[in-house]
């Protein structure tokens, strides 16, 4: 029986190649897109799941001034474990970026200093060494395979020494497997927190991620309540409330501590995947019902020779599943073909391993069955309901007329989804454009940021003096952080507000000429000046910080970070110190390096002789810090890097919107050709009666254009709602203007009209004699 169905299905496919192509190609493209997105989603959802203790690992999260941070006081871990029996193990991760030197070769590596239990809490398997012993000695270092190969080649690194930051000699005690891409912690080497010394055990400075492994049966609600006051119990320096929260490891990747959760993108992409697949299935349904006339005779005949309705339903579902299986095979080829480009686009290393990965096979089966049932069930239902009497006795009947309304509804929903995607794409790129052009309160063009080694730090003043003499260099300054990433919180108070009532503000240690080099504007007072020796203790605030203090004439007022009292000498215009996802925060500038020394040199250079100037800087840097690497980047590149994620999702989004349009139009093309065929006789009669080619084209197009207008009417408010919500994740956002909607509607109309007109012209130009002879 199945063989009989398959045969007639297969011959049906062969006999109507154009129709089958539209169905299968559309479905294949839809499936390929869906599959890529599902791989992406699966990867996003898989973050950190490879740890055996995945469900029982939590991060402690302090909340300062309503903002949550992963950075915890260094001294928290030990006290926390002592106080709460729920904690089985606890370990800190202190970000430790180091210049690693082995003899002549040196590389900058991303690393971390961790407590002994770190490798027992997490599943980062060791190839050499055991978790119990690798950090036994203070001067231990554990490398990933990749780092080991880089520094030692094929030699065995165990027991060999590496020189870190030109200062400390560490002995390699272990090799671990490379860190999987779907880990939120990314590092190439681990050292021991013992390297932090005394400070590492006693300081309440907020510096380290802290991971606690809890007992399985911990009552989390109870535990959350218990730990909430922990920081205030231990750190008596303030009366301000500093609540302590706890965040499961499972939420680190997809949930933000503050603001919009990245899981929103997962939802959006899932919605797009389903939308694209449904659009492709709608093509299938539309074409199958449009072709009902052709199939009616066969169905009638099958019923006459004894087929029950269930047999016919089975047959059509079978055909749909057969088609979707073909489509899946084609889709797999497409996925293999486009996976590398998609990986580049998405910044991932996704693979499609059908044989080795059971869940992939499951996803594939689910896609085939979903699309097979979705696209086959309506045609099966409709066609099996045909009465043989009607279809057989009256020859060509109006049997398919029943599907007309539904077909229209389906075309409308297809284009509604497509138009929403187009509008979304336009708004996303408008937003990214907006970010690029927004005045962020500083001039980041032609500013070079050079990372500062310890060696350079001691020679910095003379280096600065030396390079200032070059006429291509406009200005030189330095700071602890990039001006785009100032996030070092400290308690502050000022004239009229005592230390017991401190607020926290971000403080930035900067050198003279900072504001001048970065093109920031003073709106009150003056910037730091070496003519005033007391400026070493003085402060410059940004507008937002001034607003928080509520001081009306701030210049000359007392201001203090911790115990470091000074005076306010100037107010700088607000600039965006973090990504435009977040609003501008309060920032205090100080020349003091007590809370962290300079790590970047900023050099504003003239645009002429760019490369010559850079090589000059490199030469000079080698003179002043011969043992360090010269690493630089342009500030505007750093700026753009903040939005890499946004641009990625923007471009993924764009490609899939184009696909959706393509698939929709493929379906429209098929529909138009069938309708043109169906109306051949009518068109013939009209032509005999004197209708012009143009009026016939207009007649065929009119129907479709009407559907598209309805699709627009439905899509616009929906798109407005969705995109309004999406843009909320940006503190600074572009407007959603009406032209976006008209443009998207226009594009859809234009593309659809072009698709339909081809068929319309063909039908309209046919010789009426040919078409009428049929009857």
């Amino acid at each position: 029986m199945i063989k009989n169905y398959l045969k007639s299905a297969w011959r049906g496919i062969r006999g109507h190649k154009g129709y089958a192509f539209i169905n299968i190609a559309g479905l294949a493209i839809g499936m390929a897109a869906c599959l890529l997105i599902l791989l992406w989603v699966r990867d996003e959802l898989s973050f950190d799941t490879f740890h055996d203790n995945y469900g029982a690992i939590y991060l402690t999260v302090p909340e300062l001034e309503g903002t949550k941070y992963y950075a915890n006081p260094l001294a928290l871990a030990k006290a926390f474990k002592q106080q709460y029996p729920e904690v089985r193990k606890i370990a800190r991760y202190w970000q430790w970026d180091a210049l690693v030197r082995n003899g002549e070769t040196a590389f900058n590596e991303q690393g971390g200093l961790v407590d002994d239990d770190f490798l027992k809490i997490f599943t980062f398997p060791l190839l050499k060494g055991t978790p119990e012993t690798v950090f036994a000695a203070r001067d231990s270092i554990v490398l990933t395979e990749r780092a080991a190969r880089k520094h030692f080649g094929t030699r065995d690194p165990i027991g060999k020494s590496l020189r870190i930051n030109n200062k400390t000699e560490l002995i390699v005690t272990g090799i671990m497997k490379d860190i999987p891409a779907n880990s939120h912690l990314q590092f190439d080497l681990l050292g021991s927190t013992k390297l932090l010394g005394e400070r590492g055990e006693t300081s309440w400075s907020y510096e380290a991620n802290t991971y606690a492994l809890l007992h399985q049966n911990t009552d989390m609600d109870e535990f959350r309540k218990k730990i909430s006051g922990f920081l205030n119990e231990h750190d008596k320096r303030t009366k301000q409330k500093v609540p302590l929260h706890i965040q499961p490891l499972a939420k680190v990747h997809l949930y933000a501590l503050n603001g919009t959760d990245p899981i929103v993108y997962v939802y959006i992409f899932l919605a797009i995947a389903i939308a694209i697949l449904v659009i492709a299935c709608i093509n299938f349904i539309n074409l199958a019902t449009a072709r009902a006339n052709t199939r009616a005779k066969e169905i009638g005949m099958r019923k006459v020779v004894g087929a029950a309705r269930a047999d016919i339903i089975k047959q059509f579902l079978g055909e749909a599943i057969l088609s979707s299986t073909f489509a899946l095979l084609a889709a797999l080829c497409l996925v293999y073909l486009f996976l590398p480009s998609f990986n580049r686009l998405a910044g991932k290393q996704l693979t499609l391993d059908i044989a080795g990965d059971g869940s992939i096979a499951l996803i594939l089966a689910a896609i085939v069955i979903f699309s097979g049932l979705l696209s086959g069930s309506y045609p099966a239902f409709l066609l099996s309901s045909f009465k043989p009497v009607t279809v057989l006795s009256k020859g060509k009947s109006s049997a398919a007329a029943g599907g007309t309304i539904l077909r229209r509804i389906l075309v409308v929903s297809q284009f509604t989804a497509t138009i929403i995607l187009i509008i979304g794409t336009i708004i996303m790129s408008k937003q990214l454009d907006f970010i690029r052009k927004k005045d962020i309160g500083m001039n980041r063009d032609h500013v070079l940021s050079i990372s500062m080694s310890r060696e350079m730090r001691s020679n910095y003043p003379s280096f600065k003096n030396e390079i200032r003499r070059n006429s291509d260099i406009v200005n030189v300054s330095a700071a602890r952080r990039l001006p785009l990433n100032i996030s070092h919180m400290n308690p502050v108070f000022w004239e009229g507000r005592g230390p017991e009532n401190y607020l926290t503000m971000t403080d930035a240690s900067v050198d003279y000429d900072y504001f001048e080099t970065l093109g920031m504007h003073m709106i009150q007072g003056r910037s730091f000046d070496n003519k005033f020796p007391t400026d070493q203790e003085n402060y410059v605030l940004n507008e937002e910080a001034l607003r928080m203090t509520g001081l009306s004439s701030p210049i000359g007022k007392m201001f203090s970070i911790w115990e470091d009292k000074g005076r306010i000498i100037g107010i700088v215009k607000n600039f965006n110190s973090r990504s435009l996802h977040s609003p501008i925060g309060p920032v205090v500038f100080t020349l003091s390096q007590r809370h962290g020394s300079y790590e970047y040199i900023f050099v504003k250079i003239k645009p002429r002789n760019l490369s010559a100037t850079i090589s000059y800087l490199k030469r000079k840097a080698a003179e002043f810090a011969p043992n360090s690497l010269f690493e630089y980047s342009f500030l505007d590149e750093e700026f753009n890097r903040q939005y890499a994620e946004d641009r990625r999702s923007g471009s993924i989004y764009r490609y899939f919107a184009i696909l959706a349009i393509f698939i929709s139009c493929l379906g429209l093309f098929g529909m138009a050709s069938f309708i043109a065929d169906q109306r051949t006789r009518e068109i013939g009669i009209r032509k005999v009666l004197g209708a012009s080619v143009r009026s016939i084209i207009a007649m065929i197009s009119r129907d479709f254009l009407f559907l598209l207008v309805i699709a627009n009417v439905i899509a616009w408010p929906l798109a407005y709602y969705f995109m309004g919500n999406l843009l909320k994740s940006y503190a600074y956002r572009t407007s959603i203007s009406i032209w976006v909607f008209t443009a998207a509607g226009g594009v859809a109309l234009l593309v659809a009209q072009l698709t339909v007109i081809f068929q319309a012209i063909r039908a309209a130009r046919a010789n009426p004699v040919d078409s009428l002879r049929y009857e």
Partner: protein, 244 residues
């Protein structure tokens, strides 16, 4: 075998009822060869479809071997139809996508006949209708007469008790038509009940009994000889009856 009582069929569109059949009473004995005649639109085909369980009557009762068909559900009806009835149409209605062999096989598939039995049945039938050479051809590769031959073979393959034929020779030339009618006659002699709808007096002359429909009413019933067939047809009729 077949008992129709007060069968009425109408279509409603809006407030207007269009009657196709009115109060038909008809009995058909097993082994009979019945012809339904009448002008176009008289309701002949509709009557045939109702008997074939492809269509429902609007009112009235239909008994098939004492089974009350009018009160059965679709599934049960399909089952009875599947076991007992073969159809032949004016325009053959073979499935274009299937070969001759597969077309013959299809009814057996729906009847859920086992594979080896199916094979031998199809082989026998191909043999019996002398179309073995054509078994791998598609309908479009056959002449009209050959297609109708296949259609009859397909109707016969399930060994039906009743064959319903709707203008079976309408699209054929006279020689092909005669062959098909001879075939029906032969099947009838072998015990199959046959009901045919036709315009042709000549075809009617093959049957035992003729009924006439006009505007949905059953007009009169007559033996085919009395129905005014051509004398030679009547002669043949008598001969065949003698044989039977």
């Amino acid at each position: 075998m077949i008992k129709l009582r007060d069968i009425t069929k109408f279509y409603s569109s809006g407030f207007v009822k269009t009657f196709v059949l009115r109060n038909i009473d008809l009995d058909v004995r097993e082994g009979e060869f019945l012809t339904v005649m009448g002008p176009s639109g008289a309701g002949k085909s509709t009557l045939l479809y109702i008997i074939g369980m492809l269509d429902d009557a609007s009112e009235g009762e239909y008994y098939f071997y004492d089974q009350a068909i009018h009160s059965l559900n679709e599934k049960k009806r399909t089952q009875i139809h599947q076991q007992n009835i073969g159809f032949v149409f004016q325009s053959y209605h073979l499935i274009d996508e299937l070969t001759v062999y597969e077309n013959l096989e299809t009814p057996l598939l729906y009847k859920k006949v086992k594979a080896d039995e199916r094979k031998s049945l199809v082989a026998d039938t191909l043999d019996r209708f002398r179309i073995v050479a054509k078994k791998n051809l598609f309908p479009s590769q056959l002449s009209g007469g050959q297609q109708q031959l296949v259609a009859v073979a397909r109707a016969v393959i399930i060994n039906p008790k009743l064959i319903l034929a709707d203008e079976p020779t309408g699209n054929l030339n006279s020689k092909q038509g005669e062959e098909i009618m001879e075939l029906f006659k032969k099947l009838n002699r072998e015990g199959t009940t046959i009901i045919q709808v036709t315009h042709s007096e000549k075809n009617a002359s093959y049957s035992d009994r003729v009924i006439h429909l006009l505007d949905g009413w059953m007009e009169k019933e007559s033996k085919s000889i009395a129905g005014g067939g051509k004398p030679e047809a009547g002669d043949r009729k008598n001969k065949s009856m003698e044989k039977a």
